[in-house]
């Protein structure tokens, strides 16, 4: 088994998030109602951190929520029932530009489930996708709008993330063989 490789350390994660926040600001006009929704586990912390940077750029608070996608997964028949996470969207999604935030984009199935789940809360004007890592191997026609880092991977590799809500020196993204 080969040694785990650190793809991003704490500093690189913060730099990537800062760039992504600027890209979100560039893509969406200042007057638009942008809200961030993180997909647990992983995406919720990132959404909070992105929102903090983005609110610094736009000088106003950015609505942030959490969306659990478990009920909308397409593999519920093939596995032990996955753990549900809380959903908390304290604003109306209808008419807003919703940026879905996830840690790793892989098959695209979680994103598909998230778009379905979001529909139950209203009709966003647009849905965009921000991910810290895009590791390829898509199984659906889905792509991210904002990417922290593209990491070509083999299927037998695993990406693990250590992330904190506030950001800490120990944060890192690691690639290892399964």
């Amino acid at each position: 088994m080969s040694e785990p490789t650190v793809i991003l350390d704490a500093l690189a994660i913060q730099r990537a998030l800062t760039r992504m926040a600027h890209e979100i600001a560039e893509r969406n006009e200042p007057g638009t109602e942008v809200a961030l929704i993180g997909i647990p586990l992983g995406g919720d912390h990132l959404a909070t951190r992105l929102a903090k940077i983005l609110s610094g750029i736009w000088n106003r608070p950015i609505p942030t929520g959490i969306l659990d996608v478990t009920m909308h997964r397409d593999d519920l028949d093939q596995r032990v029932a996955p753990t549900m996470h809380p959903t908390d969207i304290p604003f109306d999604v209808t008419g807003r530009i919703i940026v879905l935030v996830d840690d790793v984009l892989f098959s695209g199935r979680t994103t598909r489930a998230a778009m379905d789940a979001l529909n139950d809360f209203g009709r966003p004007k647009k849905i965009q996708l921000a991910v810290l890592i895009d590791r390829g191997h898509r199984e659906l026609p889905i792509r991210a709008d904002f990417i922290g880092k593209n990491v070509p991977t083999a299927l037998d590799e695993k990406i693990s993330l250590r992330l904190t809500e506030a950001g800490a020196a120990q944060d890192e993204v690691v690639l290892k063989k399964k």
Partner: protein
């Protein structure tokens, strides 16, 4: 946390971790029930059959709504209108339902062990919705859910269950669930309905109502089941109400934060004064709301469960 069981047959065979998994999952489903769109697609395309060989309104309705909210299709099959009247056996009825590709059978039956029997002869997931005086697992799960929600914990709480314990499947399931999670359970009622043998389940048995509820955090009242007992178990309903009914004077001598529970249907004026059933101390209607979330959680979890490979088919 994970759930691997294919059926929900009783509480006795569950671990404390499995009970907590159901409660945690139910918390998520309770939140789903508070949304504008209360339906999720987790069981889309699945068929649930409510096989109620004994009458029930609230449990059946609760399962029906739970299945609907999970996007499953549901069929109600009741004894009155069924072929049981024509002499068909339970096994044949169940096999016929399975032949219609039912994925889940929710069964209520007057015979203890009927769900266990079905789980051995069917491929479908089986959920016990009450079997004789044996168990009523989803009621115990919703009771523990309600207690945990109200008190923040189960371990260390004093729970007093009052009334007809002998004939109560709710009492048996509650005792299993609560003791597994570390609560102190006290049973009280007429000695004919609360035999001392229940102490073997890890409970305390007393026949003094005031003493039983004095230090209780939870007062769980059970319905006197006229249909299940012979008339000789206690002299009269009036005497029962006087000795074991919860009234204002008795409640005044309990802890001010003790809550009142009842699985329903209530006999107002027998086990509880009408006024108390509607008081802020009573969580009886919240139990009903929580029951829906718990039943969604059970359907969701067992959908992902498989029978152990060595399970013998009977």
């Amino acid at each position: 946390m994970s759930w691997t069981k294919k059926h929900l047959l009783d509480i006795e065979s569950l671990t404390a971790e499995e009970i907590v998994t159901v409660l945690d999952t139910a918390r998520g489903f309770k939140a789903v029930g508070e949304r504008a769109i209360k339906k999720v697609p987790a069981l889309r395309g699945k068929t649930v059959v409510n096989l109620f060989v004994e009458p029930s309104t609230r449990t059946r309705t609760s399962f029906e709504l739970a299945a609907t909210r999970l996007s499953a299709d549901i069929v109600n099959f009741s004894a009155e209108a069924s072929s049981f009247k024509k002499g068909e056996t339970l096994k044949d009825t169940a096999l016929n339902l399975q032949a219609l590709n039912a994925d889940f059978i929710v069964i209520r039956h007057s015979a203890s062990g009927a769900p266990h029997f079905l789980s051995r002869v069917l491929d479908a997931h089986v959920i016990n919705a009450g079997d004789g005086a044996h168990e009523h697992p989803t009621q115990a799960l919703l009771d523990t859910f309600t207690i945990r929600e109200k008190k923040g914990r189960i371990a260390g709480l004093n729970v007093t269950i009052l009334g007809d314990i002998l004939y109560s499947r709710v009492a048996r399931s509650d005792i299993w669930a609560l003791t597994k999670l570390g609560a102190h359970v006290t049973l009280c009622g007429p000695s004919t309905l609360v035999p001392k043998t229940f102490e073997q389940m890890g409970c305390r048995v007393t026949y003094d109502m005031d003493e039983a509820i004095r230090d209780a955090d939870i007062i769980n009242l059970l319905r006197i089941q006229h249909e299940r007992q012979r008339k000789t178990m206690f002299p009269s309903i009036g005497e029962y109400a006087q000795l074991f009914g919860l009234n204002k004077a008795r409640l005044a001598k309990t802890r001010p934060d003790a809550i009142i529970m009842h699985p329903g249907p209530i006999n107002r004026g027998v086990e509880i004064d009408s006024e108390l059933a509607d008081s802020p101390r009573s969580v009886i209607l919240e139990q009903v709301t929580n029951g829906l979330a718990v039943r969604m959680a059970v359907l969701y979890l067992i959908n992902g469960g498989k029978a152990p490979p060595d399970a013998a088919k009977g």
